[in-house]
Symmetry: C2
Subunit: 543 residues, 2 copies
């Protein structure tokens, strides 16, 4: 690893614009933004993926490898990534910092406490929760209805026992009510931080958070509880983007990591904007497959932050295509040209969808050592037939050298095709129309059915004046539909909307299809049991 | 503020031995310890206080001011302090970083997230909790009794609603059982970290933590759950001491902050040991009054870590003495020579008690602007009659200049009197004898009565082989007795022991007298509501 000062120097960041966290991590001081904000923007490239499968597609890996390769061929590139959550590290093995020769480092620190952003978000979230219960306990001047407090508590841990709890038991210990914990990445404070443009905007958004309803049924916001300034104080450093590097010393801004189902799944607006001032090209990613991640990136993040994505790279793998073509999970390494051919429908649809946002699209085939040449050729041939640029990426095995072809194809695409980025839907239509546009245009479902509760929420949201918000779809990532087993490119299905809720601070209406887990559990044999650390602090088994 | 590198230079710490957290905070790398461990030790001075009162005695203030003054008169001095907890900042106004001209800085950062130690402790604590509930959910191979899990969860927040909760409600969400949250400073992980000598010792202590009992009634430890390595990984940076400075640039090691009732209330052993290698004099403090803080410092921390305290400074104030002599809380600024004279009994007993540990003792009269000269003279005259050195401290108003007299008196004492430090009791006696020795010798109670449950616990602890642990008394800090309103120097009372529990990882038996709050609540008008932060990140109202 290079000292982070040196990495910062590559993109013109000066020593006094960094706040060091050890030798290899830094927060970027707001003074940098003030110095560079009048500069022109680099080109923003989204790395997204086909529908996720158990085999893993390597979206983060490809993002990191692509940034390394672009730098290697002479284009000053910054990657803008999400911050990993600590909790899941102790459940299933695997970090969120890439792998092989395309990693961000120091990977252990980034996967653990990093610069404390998630802890700060947890604290701000739980301060609001404590203030709410204290308000009720101390006389409840706002007449909050304890049965309709929607603000839960948060913890960055996989702990299923905290999903549904009863708090306030015992004499003098507050008011008995039902509650629960979210994992911190699912906190609206995380989504708010990621969409904020600065301190002022952060405060306004925190103030707009709906914490529950009063006895008259009116929504009560965080601003009414007097919690906003203190929450902002807790977030004063978390709002500053973090700078780290890839294994090849490419600068990477890692900042914010909201859930990709009940939230928008993109790294921070502040981080992306800053990266665009520092890099000729900025490579970023969004959660899950393109039906969720790219749609939210385009319709929520880019629209709100006035970002203009220059291109989208769709990551596919031979294994994931075969899986989507019907191959069994444990047979993905076996020959299966028919399954591969059938699975290409999934890729094709994601490509078609991305084009609906007006951005140039290309495909990155993330190469595995046991992929067969004829399988890779088949994918490239399909792309050729679709007139979509494609390249094989071997960044896992070779780092930037393995991403050269991909980087060159991307640069060519950026040079040849201008982006005509546009969101999929207008904000001025009602929430229901927005949902139905996404289902029709992106998922390709035949219709949408709403639970009675969702219909009531729809009416409430329009009545409360939030009808002009974008929608944030919470749907299984495994299928275009809301049914995880409908692989490939299904059509004609009905999407069931179970519930619609407001994230008024983040600025979107969350549309829940199916049951969405906001607090994961640990598996039978948690990864935590297989880790170790020696006397010198060397860790093994973390990922 | 000086750059922390410069402060480190004053005590011979080199640049590569620091891990910077911004410009003004740093963690100290283990390489420094390896370099200096063979050096001789400085002199360790404990700053403790008379019985606490609502007026505030200024123990932390005096510790900081004394360190500044010792440096000013040419003695290289390092202060070793406890880390503040974040949660209480949002309840009652007031930080834990001193005040006036005797503060440690950057005070806001130290009172908020600092270098993340408390967050790391929270995470390690809650990982163990999640693993316990997951173990039960996944088949309960260890046959844990869900009704006898003693390991709670932790949060660094004042949130009374979390004191007593029911977790695991709902299908698939674990096993329904009673639980609750402690504030992080009350976590045994905090006590363990503060008493650990290094990674190996940390792991052993974490492994010895008793998390509950199995169906046969046997104690089950964290080591049985396979949680220890992962917890240690979470603590890998928290175990490194933090370096900051006073307003006058005096180096201060701030590390660890365990509760002073159910835990031992002292900063970390690792931090103190390191400070002793770097300073000619090390000034440290312990929680609450000398009956609790100093007793635990001497009997738990110094004994276990083989530290040899050279002197104790007892902080008193005119107001606190009057309060202990019967003056009303709102009349402490009025003349009251009789109340003052009566209250001196409290000071005298603390002095007598401290001498029982074999250490030279002096009194610091922490001066308030509205103290009358005759009141201050009366206190000094009393000390003269007792043949106890005493000095007036004006460090709040004047910084080191106001501590010169105190510093000179301390240096004189250190030069004239050798310490014959000895703990109050032998470890080899049983738990009951240890309790009774403390009650007789320090509290001056007539007898101890035990609840039936405490008697059962006593028998269990001896049977399980933990009878040789020191005891950690959890008692009101306001009185020598277990009755908060018995001020001054009461005698003849009976101490009621309600419960005795094992902190087997920290290495002590916790003796609860009265009800001890391990999760505070927020007041009617929380400090959080009166804070603000502007567009440039400037905070007001935090303390």
């Amino acid at each position: 690893m290079k000292p982070i000062m040196e990495v910062a120097g590559l993109i013109g960041v000066e020593e006094e614009e960094l706040e060091l966290y050890g030798r290899y991590k830094a927060k970027i001081s707001p003074s940098l933004w003030n110095r560079v904000k009048a500069n022109g923007d680099g080109k923003l490239v989204l790395v997204t993926a086909m529908s996720p499968t158990p085999a893993g597609e390597g979206k983060t890996l490809t993002t990191i490898g692509l940034a390394q390769a672009l730098n290697a061929i002479g284009h000053r590139t910054v990657a803008a990534l999400r911050e990993p959550s600590l909790g899941p590290c102790f459940g299933m093995k695997g970090g969120a910092t890439g792998s092989g020769k395309a990693q961000i480092v120091p990977a252990e620190d980034i996967n653990l406490h990093f610069t404390g952003d998630l802890h700060a978000i947890t604290s701000a979230h739980n301060l609001l929760a404590a203030i709410i219960d204290n308000h009720i306990f101390q006389g409840n001047a706002l007449q909050l209805n304890p049965q309709r407090i929607v603000w839960k508590r948060a913890m960055d841990m996989n702990d299923r026992s905290l999903r549904s709890i009863v708090t306030g038991l015992g004499d003098g210990n507050g008011v008995v009510r039902e509650g629960g914990f979210l994992i911190t990445t699912a906190s609206e404070v995380m989504a708010v931080l990621c969409l904020s443009e600065g301190f002022g905007d952060l405060k306004e958004r925190l103030g707009r958070i709906i914490i529950g309803y009063n006895q008259k049924g009116e929504a009560v916001t965080a601003s009414k509880l007097g919690a906003v300034e203190a929450m902002t104080i807790l977030l004063k450093d978390a709002i500053k983007p973090n700078l780290v590097q890839t294994l090849e010393g490419t600068p990477v801004i890692v900042h914010g990591g909201p859930f990709a189902n009940i939230a928008h799944g993109c790294s921070s607006v502040i981080g992306t904007r800053l990266a665009l001032k520092l890099g000729e090209i900025v490579v970023t990613e969004a959660g899950f497959g393109a039906d969720l991640g790219a749609e939210k990136f385009m319709d929520i993040k880019c629209r709100q932050a006035d970002l203009n994505p220059a291109a989208a790279v769709l990551v596919v793998t031979v294994k994931a295509l075969k899986y989507n073509g019907g191959a069994a999970k444990d047979k993905l390494h076996e020959p299966g040209m028919q399954e591969l051919a059938d699975g290409l429908a999934n890729m094709n649809r994601h490509v078609e969808n991305l084009k609906k946002f007006g951005v140039p699209v290309m495909v990155a085939v993330n190469h595995f050592a046991d992929d067969r040449p004829e399988e890779v050729e088949r994918v490239l041939a399909e792309c050729g037939a679709l007139h979509v640029p494609a390249a094989v990426s071997k960044v896992w095995a070779q780092g930037s050298a393995g991403g050269r072809e991909l980087a060159e194809a991307l640069v060519k695409l950026l040079g040849e095709e201008d982006s005509g980025y546009r969101p999929l839907y207008d904000l001025e239509t009602d929430i229901r129309s927005k949902i139905e546009t996404i289902v029709r245009e992106i998922y390709r479902g035949a219709e949408v059915s709403y639970s009675p509760s969702a219909l009531r929420s729809l009416a409430d949201i329009e009545r409360l004046g939030y009808g002009n918000l974008p929608v944030c779809m919470a749907k299984t990532q495994y299928s275009f539909s809301d049914q995880p087993r409908l692989l490939g490119a299904p059509e004609g299905f009905t999407v069931q909307v179970r519930e619609i809720s407001l994230s008024a601070g983040a600025g979107f209406a969350v549309v829940q299809t199916g049951s969405i887990m906001t607090m994961p559990g640990l598996p039978q044999s948690p990864a935590a049991e297989h880790m170790s650390i020696d006397e010198d602090g060397r860790i093994s088994g973390l990922f």
